[in-house]
Symmetry: D2
């Protein structure tokens, strides 16, 4: 038990091993700086409320600033909150040190400090994410004409381009960035001044404290301020959704980079080999991304389960939630870096149009061309092509090798020479992307337009990010000067 | 296998039991109406693209409208998408029926239909949620002066008011409503026209289709349009967060309503008794809310796990995601209704100030008063009160029963008569709420102000909800008239 | 509220919509038969304890037997337990009907009935599982000489045989069957007689009741009997582990059956095609198995979360656990059937040895042969082969096409003609399985031996299953005759 | 990339940051000793197979034994497996060092080493668990006559004894110990000799290796040996089930120890106070147990999700599973210790029979006594008592204060004096435990018998544990002497 809490309610000290068991000291490292800042703002608030005098405030402030950038190796007992009070009591005496905790509680202090550290991390996460999107769009712009295979059900489906595929990933990732920003706005609200749950009978100015600490506003109801961990759960959910998108991207790389599928050549720098099988080249970092993203996704589940059936009010279980969010964001940041490098250093495999399984991906466009040139309904044309596919698979041929006669036979009526020429042209996968006409299709012209738009969106997200960072920095500088 | 798909690629039919196994027919009931509407918009699009003639469009449109409000008991094989084509083919002949699927795929169609049904449900969910918040604030407004106990660590902590507690619940629930609305905006984007993944070589106007179906915009990249299920996952996550808040509320009711804690008297209409123990009155519906909310929260986990390690492109696993979101929203809607009624019919227990465990909750304010009147630092005052608590617990007394002498003895110095009078006044739990001075505290004046603000927020959310519903209805009416 | 519970503790009835909300009637369908049997055994117990007379027991017994095989469409309110008492009261009058519930509670009754229904389902699950294992081993026995590719990191690794692969699946599935049986033994313990939690002051013979209902023993402590849901959680965990193994098998089929990998040809009867892309042949049922297994696995998570932070004693939340276990077992049974048929009807693709990516899988055995014939340490030989692989990949050749000279150049010293001949022989994937010498390797002789052993294990599991079923049937017949 | 793997397949080295990203070095610390032992056994196996000579074996063995108890602070790159080979190559030269990896793979080696470390931890876990059960039974034996409250639905239900409650916890914990042991038997099977997946063409004796390493048998099929992680998932599931039971126990302590319920007095050594509220005494360590158990339970979910949709064969994702199992077992061990101390140092609160909410728990036995003495059917007696409860709650009286006349009025017929005397006697909660007659009830005589039986079960589990440990130690000693 902390020295500052002794001599009161409890007749004997908490056992040392129990203190070790319940201590949050390891995890507090992540919020130690924020805890000190909250104390500084609280000192200003106590001064304004007339609880301490200016001279006292200056002394407290000075010692707090000394603590700002240090985290002690030893000496923290239950948590860093008490450590700060103990240190100030040691340095400034029990009378002044004993005033620091007036009108505040660990409950509001920890919620405030977590939000402060979390908001920084969310901005960093957004930064890394936008950097990946930017690289994806750069790569996409270079490959708008390179034929690639679009899959459904893990089967080759239709010819697309590598640029179109890469650009498709930007969509969900930009939506993830929106979610991060929306979560940020709810994280960046100050619960400070909520006390243990009932605020305080001292005349503390919560709005001033919020402003000093760079918050956009307050969690108003004091009980909500200390009981609400939905900001943490939401952050974990947002991480989980991003992890889900990222693991899909990793899975794509493992799949496209496998020697069976062979659409992408992963750089040796992002590969490993086997200790036994000399021919192996494995997509190790992508497998690790896939697995760690599962952990990030599951961190949310852990948190949800941890808070199940807890009543309103601070419960110590909350302490165990916080490391989950640090783990999720740290993990995502490293995964995003690896993916950014791994994708940028990969090479798309070209000249795939002649592979048998790629040849067949033209089937839809062949059917479409029969609708346009042979007057068939789509469903009729679809059936013809289906039968043609069955024939070529049986005979190990390609669709382009079917003769006009064979097509006529399948159709049950003579097809014109023009129709046949169209089939021949369309049956080349290379020709397909240029045929697509709908917005957002792999058509190179449209993909280029969309990439430009995407780059502009990235820029505007980046500007918003910088603006938000600027606000936090300005608040931080203001507080520096206040006492 | 559907009749419309026979005679092509596969040499034999899918086994009937396998079709039953993979069929989505049960779950399709929830999107059947939307599937028909998507077909209608597609008919308009085919007409504009010159794929079908106006006369054909009218015929297709007429038959589709006939399907709008029926869902057949039998006859659906693999799914409702194929059923619609089969029906139209049956009614209008294979030539015209065979044109319906030109340029579209089940992949874009199902994603579009799910989004349409989901957006309605999200609005309904928001409606129920706002209704609960409204009732909470009404109840809160009536009880701003009724003393209640604020808990931390499941232990009585400080005196608050019932009104302050009820108002504290509005906070997270309104944040949940923000999340629903933000998710809504991402759900309400049209993937229609993405085809199987590569759009189409027919000149289909995706923007027109999106507008006809009431969407705010498009998921542009066609591969993203059919592969992205983040809108579903996000909806499940938002439901999960709401479930977490709701289960806490249910837990509060079970806890406060238990005969040990006895702060709330639950109506017999929301209680059950035991079949064996004649004295029992159990909070059954609240226990069910608690449990079902755990299922809702876990539905997100199920979905995340289901999509883990799936590569880009439609995978049939997606089909199994959809029922999870219906279950989550349905369950939440019924839980919200029960909670709204259950809370409104409950009665707060009054006259609790004399209970021993409530008496002690004044300790913080007694310490604060010693800071103000006896010149103690907070930490010193805190220790005095801690010792006083130890004494009264040992002797089965209350803090108010300690004499001025005893207080002086504890303090180690004589306390003034004024200090002692202050202690006596503050040691009555009833006096505490009026002492709090910080914003958002249980102080009745502040709680009243905050309730007014809360009601205004509810109103603005409701107006937004109605505005959004109006947009969908206008789009729906426009489509009625288009052909 | 049930008529039999009215007129006591609660002043007014539970609202009808609240009863609907909390009712377990839908899920009770699965345990209705067991509930009736428990009542029958309880009647015997009441007779033995002298609480009712023989004549009364006979009447109650007769009416209960009439209920055995019916489940009413309407009329069940809160649950089936009360329905049974209501029905008997209606048929036999309040005096006799009112005796039925003496000394028992819904709490012990429901726990007993769930265990009875669950044990049947666990045996059925084991039955289906053993049938799949049996088919796998039959298929394996036919394919011990067919070369197949073993994968690691989703990359071709070493030549194995199809028989060896199939036999490898039997391992985890037989371990799953062990787990089912071990869970069964803990499920098959009677909690009946635990009452609400404190047993009864009537002299009821718990051992007799357990015996009549076919249980192996008792959950002795009465509080444990009604509070313990670990038998349900364990059953869900066992299902979850089986689901994990089964989803891997489904994933294998999707992967091996894809046109890129093409090691297995799935029967058209277990495939579907696309509505748009005429060439598609998708492994739909296997994707559904994969997805549903994720749900089964997550059902355990739901249950764990649902019970988190519940104190000892019956809580109504338990009611929501039960449907999860029915869903898990039902889903697994249907997935097992589909997998059994899907695997049996699949065809292994032969003649794969010449594919470039298969050619390279001999690398390890080439290195091993260099250890044996060229006196290299393994690590040295490994490096030589690695360089050889790099050369053949660069030049689009195969390992067999490298000349003796090239090998000598790589090794940095002349290799003998014998060494070169060995390389040539070993570099044929077809030769590899025969070279393996360790127990459990793909060597056809060893695989055959292991398949025989596997078949014998299946037989012994089947005999145990039949023995267990026999015990339940004998108990059931005994009870038929007791009154 | 490790020096020993360079110069082969990959043209350039894996990037250093990528190696850091994929490295398992931190987690390998837990299996480092086992990895060395596996290498030692493999050396014996290579000697027997004639791959190395006795002199070489001795040298390798000697250097390996030097590595046994050290884990380097720096210098491990990708993993500890390669580190061992690098070290031996450094110390004994490339020729001898290069022979170490002949016929083995990291795939079989890591699976073997994890199983070895895991089996030790499972035994330690069992040890701690049995120690808790033992303490629970000791405490129970001392309190078989102390009246306690049994709860259902978090409401007081029936009088039991503290001894009966404590004994009830032994039930699920002993079932957990059975599960640990059953998992142990499946963990303790050797996959060594499975190679990368296909065994080896060297004549390695897998049975000998298994025996040297203390395994009970082998995972026979080599593909199963390296692909099967069900032993890890099962261990996580078993931990998850134990965590669920343990968190319930922690929740009981928080609930019973709260000042509202006040059935248990937690020692100050296992409590904390608030930094703001001087009266607070919080059950901090029990809250932390509750929260950490949620994490342990969720670790299983993480693992299940991580392996979803992975095909057969080693995938690097497996590496991320292992830390989960260490975390689960470590966490459980510390939670078990804290719970053991926390429970042993708690004091049951006596003299609770007069509390109003406890008074009512006699209702069931009052009804039962009316069945026996007043000739009422149970349902009739139940209704009478229900009405009596309603009266006493309305008038703030107790059941014992109702007069005989009032009882007669409720019953609607005169009750005899004997009946009334019985009611008076039974209406004292203290009398209830002695009235119970069924096996496993709180009746002190029966509880004492059951505690004796429980102690005997604990002893037999302990003997089994010691026997198992002995086997591992003997194997370990044998290997010491072999070379």
């Amino acid at each position: 038990m902390s020295t500052v809490l002794r001599g009161g309610r409890l007749s004997s000290k908490t056992r040392r091993d129990v203190v070790d068991f319940i201590s949050s000291r390891e995890s507090d490292r992540r919020i130690a700086g924020s805890i000190v800042l909250v104390n500084e703002a609280h000192v200003v608030s106590l001064l304004n409320a007339g609880v301490i005098r200016r001279r006292e405030a200056r002394k407290l402030f000075r010692e707090l600033r000394r603590l700002e950038n240090t985290f002690p190796k030893h000496g923290i007992g239950e948590d860093y909150h008490l450590y700060v009070e103990e240190e100030l009591t040691k340095r400034l005496g029990p009378e002044l040190g004993g005033k620091l905790h007036t009108g505040k509680s660990r409950n509001d202090q920890v919620a405030t400090a977590i939000r402060m550290s979390l908001r920084e991390l969310l901005l960093n996460l957004s930064d890394r994410l936008l950097s990946l999107v930017d690289k994806l769009l750069d790569q996409a712009a270079k490959h708008t004409d390179i034929v690639f295979v679009g899959y459904t059900h893990q089967q080759p489906a239709q010819p697309i381009t590598y640029g179109h595929y890469l650009a498709s990933i930007a969509g969900p990732l930009l939506r993830d960035d929106e979610r991060i920003f929306e979560a940020y706005r709810r994280v960046n609200m100050s619960p400070m001044g909520s006390g243990a749950l009932a605020g305080s009978s001292f005349d503390l100015d919560r709005g001033l404290v919020a402003q000093l600490l760079g918050f956009e506003g307050m969690i108003e109801n004091s009980l909500d301020g200390v009981s609400g961990r939905d900001f943490l759960l939401e952050s974990l959910a947002v991480c989980s959704l991003l992890a889900s998108d990222l693991s899909r991207l990793a899975q794509d790389w493992i799949f496209y980079g496998s020697s069976d599928v062979s659409l992408i050549e992963i750089s040796p720098e992002y590969s490993s080999t086997s200790s036994l099988m000399p021919q192996k080249k494995n997509a190790d970092p992508f497998e690790i991304v896939r697995a760690r993203c599962a952990r990030v996704a599951a961190n949310y589940t852990t948190a949800i389960s941890m808070t199940h059936a807890l009543p309103t009010g601070y419960n110590l279980d909350f302490q165990e939630l916080t490391p989950l969010v640090w783990d999720s964001i740290d993990t995502l940041c490293s995964c995003l870096s690896v993916m950014t490098g791994g994708i940028a250093s990969s090479r798309v495999v070209t000249g795939i149009a002649d592979r048998p399984q790629v040849q067949l991906t033209v089937a839809t466009e062949v059917a479409n061309s029969l609708v346009r040139t042979a007057g068939a309904s789509f469903r009729e044309a679809y059936r013809w092509v289906g039968q043609a596919v069955r024939i070529v698979l049986r005979d190990h041929r390609t669709l382009r090798e079917l003769t006009g006669e064979e097509w006529s036979q399948i159709a049950g009526r003579p097809l014109t020479a023009k129709t046949y020429r169209t089939i021949l042209r369309v049956a080349d996968p290379e020709s397909n992307p240029g045929l697509y006409r709908t917005e957002g299709s792999p058509n190179p012209r449209d993909v280029k337009r969309k990439i430009s738009l995407g780059k502009r969106t990235v820029d505007s997200h980046l500007r918003r990010l910088e603006g938000t960072r600027g606000q936090l920095q300005r608040a931080s500088r203001r507080m520096r000067k206040i006492l």
